[in-house]
């Protein structure tokens, strides 16, 4: 594995499968009386969150602490407009504190790349979401969830529905699922698909009803109502009618098909309450899996002298 996890494309198939297998082992930790492993004792993990995100930060914090790492949380107000506390100055401060890994979430695409490549820090950089670019650990926990329900992802059909243009979750998932052998279809109104999408390793469709019956997994993305003002769709009602997953559409899914959402959901917009709370929905499980997957990532990056070398066949 590479020293930094900046993009889902940083993971080879072997790397990705190693993460998933490791997460599987770590998941059972939640059932033990002592929910701790000593593997990262003495390591310092810094959560550098420039964007509000309690959920992801807590997930990474729990993951680091369960591996006995020391955790430092830094929540900075940093929009892409105001520089205020600059990314660079914050990074230099953390470096002085001796961070082994920096988990960074930022509103600017490419901020983790700058951290990793600028020479400001020596630690491993884990991208916890950068702008509209990527969110690799989300894709990993999504793939882990799919794998636990469906087994191997080779040839599986995954439909990702919603605001692809602004979604880092969509980008990371498209890359990782492809690496794991799945077929991805992005479903969205034309205004919410990026220019040049023909070059991505995915299918696209404007017609949700045509795609749903063939899907093994349906992943709904959050759609912000404010996008209405950018002219991406005329009204929230029209969006829900054409691209929302409601009970009627859920009934067209195959028996084994699961429904996912990276959260937070806008109930009534892209997904209705009855779907979110149905048996098909694995949305709550995704959150649990998030901790195990992030533990796996942190362990594989920091648990040894260097990141894990993934090879087939596990040696002693």
């Amino acid at each position: 594995m590479k020293r930094h996890l900046l993009s889902a494309a940083d993971l080879s198939r072997d790397d990705a499968e190693l993460v998933l297998r490791t997460a599987e082992e770590l998941r059972s930790l939640a059932d033990r009386p002592i929910k701790k492993l000593p593997a990262l004792r003495g390591r310092t993990v810094v959560n550098l969150f420039f964007e509000d995100s309690t959920r992801t930060r807590i997930s990474f914090e729990a993951a680091a602490k369960r591996l006995s790492a020391d955790v430092i949380n830094f929540a900075a107000k940093g929009s892409s407009l105001s520089k205020g506390e600059s990314l660079k100055d914050t990074a230099l401060t953390l470096e002085a504190m001796g961070a082994d890994a920096v988990v960074v979430r930022h509103s600017a695409s490419g901020a983790p790349h700058r951290l990793a490549n600028s020479g400001w820090v020596r630690s491993s950089v884990v991208n916890a979401g950068d702008g509209t670019h990527e969110h690799p650990t989300q894709a990993l926990l999504d793939a882990f969830t799919m794998w636990r329900h469906l087994g191997s992802l080779d040839g599986r059909r995954v439909a990702i529905v919603g605001d692809v243009l602004h979604s880092r979750v969509a980008r990371s998932n498209a890359l990782l699922l492809r690496t794991l052998g799945a077929e991805v279809t992005l479903v969205s109104p034309p205004t919410l698909l990026p220019v040049g999408i023909e070059g991505w390793p995915v299918e696209t469709s404007y017609d949700l009803d045509a795609v749903l019956p063939k899907a093994d997994v349906v992943m709904m993305l959050r759609v912000q109502r404010e996008r209405m003002h950018g002219g991406f769709f005329p009204t929230a009602r029209e969006y829900s009618r054409r691209y929302g997953l409601d009970g009627r559409r859920m009934a067209t899914l195959q028996d084994h098909t699961i429904v996912m959402h990276p959260g937070p959901m806008v109930r009534g917009m892209e997904i209705t309450a009855d779907v979110a709370d149905s048996d098909r929905s694995v949305i709550v499980e995704q959150v649990t899996n998030g901790v195990a997957v992030r533990m796996a990532v942190l362990y594989l990056l920091l648990g040894g002298s260097e990141p894990a070398v993934s090879t087939e066949g596990l040696s002693e």
């Binding site: 490791t22 082992e25 000593p38 002298s305 990141p307 894990a308 596990l314």
Partner: protein, 195 residues
């Protein structure tokens, strides 16, 4: 030392065979009886194999116990990767499966099962791992081969074969299911071939 009833390939490039399939079978049978004798029966036992090869050994011991006592001893696995004291000396290692049987280990007698006992560090790590899982009444250790050179005060309760070795030699255990054959061989010996 040539092995008793050595297999025809005793001196191939794989090294000297010191235990063949039958030897291994007999050793495991004896170990299983010794465990039952020491424990005065099979109740409250839990067998935990240390992956990779400790696991099939633990399963075979459980089979033998079942055929003698008619009792299914819980069998599982205990991966010690994260508790190793040399964790930071090499790139991060993949985890192996840990499966603690449903009844847990609190108040029970855990028998750790491994293929080779050498420096003792793996067993020390296993003890640390057990500590985070529960509080057994007792912990015992069964190994197929004890090759000496302990670096920690650890000893096995049940041993298949004591095998004095020099540090330049390496002991290789192969088991059906993981490998294609049951055999214990020594490689890198500076001694001559079969005397």
């Amino acid at each position: 030392m040539p092995a008793p009833n050595a297999a025809p390939d005793a001196t191939t490039d794989d090294g000297r065979t010191v235990l063949d399939a039958r030897d291994i079978g007999r050793a495991l049978t004896r170990i299983s009886h010794e465990i039952l004798e020491r424990n005065k029966g099979a109740s409250d036992l839990v067998l935990l194999g240390i992956p990779s090869r400790g696991v099939p050994l633990a399963e075979r011991i459980a089979e033998r116990i079942a055929s003698v006592e008619g009792y299914d001893v819980p069998v599982g696995s205990l991966d010690v990767t994260m508790y190793r004291d040399d964790l930071r000396m090499k790139p991060a290692r993949a985890l192996l499966p840990t499966q603690i049987p449903g009844g847990g280990i609190d108040g029970r007698t855990v028998v750790l099962v491994d293929d080779v006992l050498f420096s003792g560090r793996t067993i020390r790590a296993a003890l640390d791992a057990l500590n985070d899982i529960g509080r057994p009444k007792a912990v015992r250790l069964a190994v197929l081969v004890d090759r000496g050179h302990r670096e920690l005060p650890i000893r096995a309760d049940f041993v298949g074969k004591n095998l004095p070795t020099s540090l330049v030699e390496s002991v290789r255990v192969r088991l059906q299911g993981i490998d294609d054959v049951d055999a214990v061989t020594i490689q890198g010996s500076t001694e001559g071939e079969v005397a």
